[in-house]
């Protein structure tokens, strides 16, 4: 387990100190679109503070509900990150992009859960549906 997690740490970087904790915490279960072995799975939930595409990669930065700051890099040669995004568990659409990035900037307050299978290339980003991104 330790070896794949080293790969995860190459992709994710803890870049800051803990921040404040909210007024509630909960418990998640893996959604159906996450198909890897649960023993190789982890997740990060929180506020997405930036989303930037640079060619074949998209970088997402998050301030998690557990007071960490994370950076996720998605690699998507020849495409965008749509295949790795869901909205409330439902596959992402072009309209969702427009809502997520009005005027080309990430909508304020956007939240997501990033599911990371430590033996897979890319994490999957599930944007919160009940707090509309558009």
């Amino acid at each position: 387990m330790r070896v794949p997690f080293v790969r995860l740490l190459l992709t994710l970087a803890l870049v800051g100190a803990p921040a404040a904790v909210g007024s509630a915490q909960g418990r998640l279960r893996p959604p159906g679109f996450v198909t890897c072995d649960r023993n190789h799975l982890t997740s990060f939930t929180g506020r997405v503070v930036s989303l930037a595409r640079d060619g074949d990669t998209t970088t997402l930065r998050m301030e998690t509900d557990e007071s960490t700051k994370e950076r996720f890099i998605l690699r998507h040669p020849g495409a965008d990150a749509t295949a790795w995004f869901t909205l409330g568990g439902i596959p992402f659409t072009a309209a969702d992009w427009t809502a997520l990035l009005p005027a080309g900037r990430l909508r304020a307050g956007a939240r997501a859960t990033v599911w990371v299978c430590t033996d897979e290339l890319n994490p999957r980003v599930d944007w919160e549906a009940h707090e509309p991104v558009g």
Binding site: M1, F5, P18, L28, L41, T42, F44, E66, T68
Partner: protein, 325 residues
């Protein structure tokens, strides 16, 4: 609710006990006590409803008020013992109040279903859920007693999410008790959540919001395998008692406390799922990930313990923010 109940009981005492009973001779007290016992023995056999809430029986409702017992059976500690308990609290941990080393917490269980009846759970499942809680917390000094159950069919509330108007409405309508009473709401919550809970420190600012929400199918015998052994409630009640996730703060740690403000739960980079063997995500810090801890995200069958530091933090948080608040 407590004030209302007390008012009711005061009225009840004056209605059922002769005037001047408080000054009566021992023989009169004995007769009154016998009458009280006889009445309660009969009432104990019947479900009982007060202010729209059905209780298992009237004895359960009144025994902590009317016949001299205390509602909360917290351990009686000397000041010295309290100091000792405070001393074992986790550094940076609780909140600066006086710890409560344990006690019996009354549980108001609110079953929220859809209008079609989805999400209904049986009384047996609720009893089993309480048993799971009591087993999980057996080493902490805390236990849970079902005080009342109510059932509400409401499609909006059934699918509530954290912070939603549906959640606010449901809790405003259903919540009972004070800071040291546990309100559990079972519903068909979505968003991949098994449950959520408020912290003790949040009670003062928003008492109506206080409580635990769980996915109904996470209860013992439910269909949410591998999360159907009842430990979602265990986990959420842990939050309600003041505990953070074991992965709070990731690998951030100082000499005396982890990100969860509990020193004896090893730091963990991020939540574990399943039941991984040998997971150690903070390799620069001692201790493997606490995957067996109720405050991680592993399968119900994988989690089975609270640490002594978590126990101490619960005591201090409860004493600071909940006890007699």
């Amino acid at each position: 609710m407590k004030r209302g109940v007390l008012s009711f009981l005061v009225a009840g005492v004056f209605l059922s006990v002769p005037a001047g009973a408080q000054d009566a001779q021992p023989g009169s007290q004995s007769a009154a006590a016998a009458a009280c016992a006889a009445r309660e023995a009969f009432e104990d056999t019947l479900p009982w409803t007060f202010r729209g809430v059905t209780y298992p029986n009237k004895r359960h409702f009144v025994e902590n008020f009317k016949c001299g017992a205390h509602k909360y059976k917290f351990d009686k500690q000397s000041d010295e013992e309290k100091d000792i308990a405070a001393g074992k609290g986790k550094p940076g941990g609780g909140g600066g109040g006086t710890p409560q080393a344990g006690g019996v917490i009354d549980v108001y269980f609110h079953v929220i279903t859809s209008s079609a009846g989805a999400g209904d759970v049986s009384d047996q499942m609720i009893a089993n859920q309480i048993s799971v809680l009591n087993a999980a917390y057996s080493g902490t000094g805390w236990s849970f007693a079902l005080f009342a159950t109510d059932r509400t069919a409401n499609d909006a509330w059934y699918t509530m999410s954290p912070g939603s108007s549906a959640e606010n409405d449901a809790k405003a309508a259903l919540r009972e008790g004070t800071a040291d009473d546990l309100n559990i709401y079972s519903a068909g919550i979505g968003g991949g959540l098994l449950g959520w809970a408020t912290f003790p420190s949040s009670y003062g600012a928003d008492p109506t919001d206080d409580g635990v929400v769980i996915l109904f199918s996470s209860m013992p015998g439910g269909t949410a395998a591998p999360y159907n052994l009842g430990d979602t409630a265990t986990h959420e009640v842990g939050h309600w008692m003041g505990l953070y996730h074991t992965f709070q703060g990731g690998c951030a740690r100082n000499a005396t406390s982890g990100g969860d403000l509990v020193a004896d739960t090893p730091a963990e980079r991020s939540p574990a799922y399943g039941c991984p063997s040998g997971r150690d995500t903070c390799t620069n810090l001692s201790g493997a990930d606490p995957i067996e801890n109720f405050m991680d995200y592993t399968d119900d069958s994988c989690m089975f313990k609270f640490s002594s530091g978590q126990d101490a933090r619960m005591d201090l948080q409860f004493g600071t923010y909940r006890y007699q608040k």
